[in-house]
Symmetry: C2
C-alpha cells in the first residue's frame, strides 16, 4: 500500500465536470488500495477574478488581506473535490492549508513553508479517507493566513510528499511531461522518461514553464521524487529525481528558447572598481531580476571604458532603464541601448559535465545557420546564448537536430 | 470611547462600490474615536452560486464540505472590506470566524455558538484597528470549519457584542427598522423607535423578516441591546431591548400578516388519549414545524370524535399530508382537508399583558370588515387569527387603523 500525493492545477479543476474527472482518477488509484492525498489549486480564473475585485477597490491592496482573499480560491476547490469523491462513493475530507498543518513565515503573498505537522492528514488517511488539501496556502505560527506565491500549489504537494514520506508525488498538468524542446516549435521533440532535479531547474528557469524553480529546489533538497504528467490522458509522464549514472550518458537533455528576455547595454562605462556593483545593487533594490551579464572592454579613445550588457525579464525593461538612467550622472556611462528583440537559447544536460566540445558544437551549428551570437553564458550543465529573436526558432530546431536528432 | 459592533448583510456588501460605502460609514464612526468591530455576510448571490456549484456535482452534498465551501463567501467579504477601509486610510484587519475565536458545536450547516474567545479581536482593537469579522461561521474545538445556518451573521454580531461587552450592536439591513406593519401593505405604518425582545421575537416569528428569531433570543438571553437600521441612509433605526415600563403603555406594538402558512384539518379524529401526541410526534420526526393547533369537539353521530386543525409552513404542506396519511389506519380519522389559502394575522405588544378587551376589539374589527375567523391562538403578548388569504391585507389595514391609528 503506497502513499501517493497528487497535485491538480487550476485547469484540471476548472469547472465541476473537470473536478469530477479528477475524482474519477483519484478513485482509480484509491481502488488499488493506495492512500491518496490530493492537492488542488483554485479553479482557473478564480484567482484572477478575486484580484480584480480587490483592485477595483484599491490598486495596491494590503498583502495580508490579499492572502485572506486568495486563500478562498483553493478552499472552494477542496470542498468541491471532496463532494465529487463522495458522489462516486469514495470517503474523502478536505483540509485548508492551515488545517493540514502547513506552517509558514509571515511574508504575505510569498510566504515560505517553515514546517509541516501533518497529524490531521495522517488521522484522516488512517480513517480510510482521501485527503484533499488546499494548495498555495498555509498559516503563520500566530494563525495568520498566508499564501506561497506563484507555483505555490506545486510546492504544497512536494512539501507534503516530503513531510508524509510519500512513495510518489504526481504533478498533474496539461502537458504530458517534460520534453526535449517545446513541441509547438520543434515537431521532433520527445517526451523525457526521466530528468534530474538540476536539469529540471535549468529548464524551469529557462522558460519551459512546467513548474516553478522553487518547487523543484524543494524536491531536490528533500529528495522527493515526483512525476510530471497530464490530467487529460493516461500516458506516463516524466520522473524528476536525483541524477543517475545513465543520465550522464546523454550530453544534452533538452533545448529551450526563452522569448521573455530583454537586453540592456551600457556603452562606455568607466573602467573602475565598484561600478558594476553599484549598477546591479540598484537593479536588485528595484526587485529587477537580472539574468545574464556580459562585460567587454571597449577599445575607444580616451579614458579606459567598457561596455556592459545584461538581460532581464521583458516586463521589467522600462523599470530597468529608469534605474540605469538615474545612475547616469553618478557613473558617467556614454549611452544606453535597450532591445526586446532577443531570444535566449539554451541547451541543458548533466552529461555536459563530463563531455567536452559541447560549446563548440553549439557555436558551429549556429554559425552554419547564419545565426549571430550576442551574449554567451555557461554553467556546469547549461550553455545559453542570446540571439536575434527573429532567428530564435530556426536556431532552436537546428540545435535540437544536432544534439537530439530529428 | 464606545465599542460598537456593526453588522452588514449581503445586500449592503453586494459589490465593491457598496463595500466602499460600508467602509465610509465605518470610517465616520471610527473618526469619532469609537472602537469598531464589523461583521459581514457573503456578497449577495455568492452563497447561492457556491451552493449551485456543489449541487452540480451532487444533489445532497456532505454538510462538513458545504461548510468549508460556504465559509469562503464571508472570507472574501472580510478581505475586501478591510481593503476598502485601507483605501480611505483607516487601519483595519480581517478575521475569519475561527480566527475571531468563535467556537461552535459540530452540527455542520447549523452549528451553535458554544463560546467566544475574542482575544485576537481585542488585540487588534487595541492596536487601533477596525476589526472585520466573517459572519455566519466558526470552528469546532477540533478545528473543523462550521457555519451557523440562516441568520448566522446576525447571530455572530450579537454574540460578539455580548462577548466583547460592546456598548452598541447595530444590525444594518435594507429597511429603516421595525415597523408597526409592513409599509407595502399598510401605508400608514410607522417605524418604531424601540421594541422589546419579546415583541421582536413574536414579530420575527410572524413573518416580519427583519431578523431570525435565534439572534433575538440570544440577544435577550445575554442582554445585548441592538439597533436595526438601514445601510442606505442615516436615519436612526429601531432599538431592540428589554421591555420598559413605558413600553407597556402601548397595547399593540405591531400588526403582522404571515402568508406563508398552510392549514391541515383532520376530520373525525377518535376522541381518546394519545392521539394528538401520536400525530405531532410523527410531524416532529419529519422535521415539520407546526405552528398553531386547534381542536374542536365534533358533535356528529357515533363514537365521540373531534376535528383537529394545525398550521405549518406552506413548503411543508405536502410532506405533512403524507405523514398524516400514513397514520390514517392507525388513528382512524375520517378525512383530511388541506388548504394554502390562509393568512395568519397577529397583533403583538407587551402592553397586552395588563390591558383587557384587546381580543374583543380585534374580533369586533374583523367582524365589521366581514372577515371570518378560522382559528385563534393567544399568548401573553400576542393574538393570532387565521383568516381567508384573500381578505388578509384588508383585515390587516383595518386592525392597524383600529389599534395604531391611520
Amino acid at each position: 500500500m503506497a502513499l501517493i500525493v497528487q497535485k491538480y492545477g487550476g485547469t484540471s479543476v476548472g469547472n465541476t465536470q473537470r473536478i469530477r474527472n479528477v475524482a474519477a482518477r483519484v478513485a482509480k488509484y484509491r481502488a488499488q488500495g493506495d492512500k491518496i492525498v490530493v492537492v488542488v489549486s483554485a479553479m482557473s480564473g478564480v484567482t484572477d477574478s478575486l484580484i480584480k475585485l480587490a483592485k477595483e477597490i484599491m490598486p495596491l491592496p494590503n498583502e495580508r488581506e490579499m492572502d485572506v482573499l486568495l486563500a478562498t480560491g483553493e478552499q472552494t476547490t477542496i470542498a468541491l473535490t471532496a463532494i465529487a469523491l463522495h458522489s462516486i462513493g469514495v470517503a474523502a475530507a478536505s483540509l485548508t492549508g492551515a488545517q493540514a498543518g502547513i506552517v509558514t513565515d509571515g511574508v504575505h503573498t510569498k510566504a515560505r513553508i517553515q514546517n509541516i505537522t501533518p497529524k490531521t492528514v495522517h488521522d484522516l488517511l488512517n480513517q480510510g479517507k482521501v485527503v484533499i488539501v488546499a494548495g498555495f496556502q498555509g498559516e503563520t505560527p500566530e494563525g495568520q493566513i498566508t499564501t506561497l506565491g506563484r507555483g505555490g500549489s506545486d510546492l504544497t504537494a512536494v512539501a507534503l510528499a516530503a513531510a508524509l514520506k510519500a512513495d510518489l508525488c504526481q504533478i498533474y498538468t496539461d502537458v504530458d511531461g517534460v520534453y526535449t524542446a517545446d513541441p509547438r516549435i520543434v515537431p521532433g521533440a520527445r517526451k523525457l522518461d526521466e530528468i534530474s532535479y538540476d536539469e529540471m531547474l535549468e529548464l524551469a528557469s529557462l522558460g519551459a514553464k512546467v513548474m516553478q524553480s522553487r518547487s523543484v529546489e524543494f524536491a531536490k533538497k528533500f529528495g522527493v521524487v515526483f512525476e510530471v504528467r497530464s490530467s487529460l490522458n493516461e500516458n506516463p509522464g516524466t520522473l524528476v529525481k536525483e541524477e543517475t549514472k545513465s543520465m550522464e550518458d546523454v550530453v544534452v537533455r533538452g533545448v529551450s528558447l526563452d522569448k521573455n528576455q530583454a537586453k540592456i547595454t551600457l556603452v562606455g562605462v568607466p573602467d573602475k572598481p565598484g561600478v558594476a556593483a553599484r549598477i546591479f545593487k540598484a537593479l536588485g533594490d528595484a526587485t529587477i531580476n537580472v539574468d545574464m551579464i556580459v562585460q567587454n572592454i571597449s577599445h575607444g579613445s580616451g579614458a579606459p571604458a567598457t561596455d556592459l550588457s545584461f538581460t532581464a525579464d521583458k516586463p521589467d525593461l522600462l523599470k530597468a532603464q529608469k534605474v540605469i538612467d538615474g545612475l547616469k550622472s553618478e557613473i558617467g556611462f556614454r549611452d544606453i541601448i535597450a532591445t526586446e528583440n532577443i531570444g535566449k537559447l539554451s541547451i541543458v544536460g548533466v552529461g555536459m559535465k563530463s563531455h567536452t566540445g559541447v560549446a563548440a558544437k553549439l557555436f558551429e551549428t549556429l554559425a552554419r545557420e547564419g545565426v549571430n551570437i550576442d551574449m554567451i553564458s555557461t554553467s556546469e550543465i547549461k550553455i545559453s546564448v542570446i540571439v536575434d529573436l527573429a532567428k530564435g526558432e530556426q536556431a532552436m530546431k537546428a540545435i535540437h537536430a544536432a544534439f537530439l536528432g530529428s
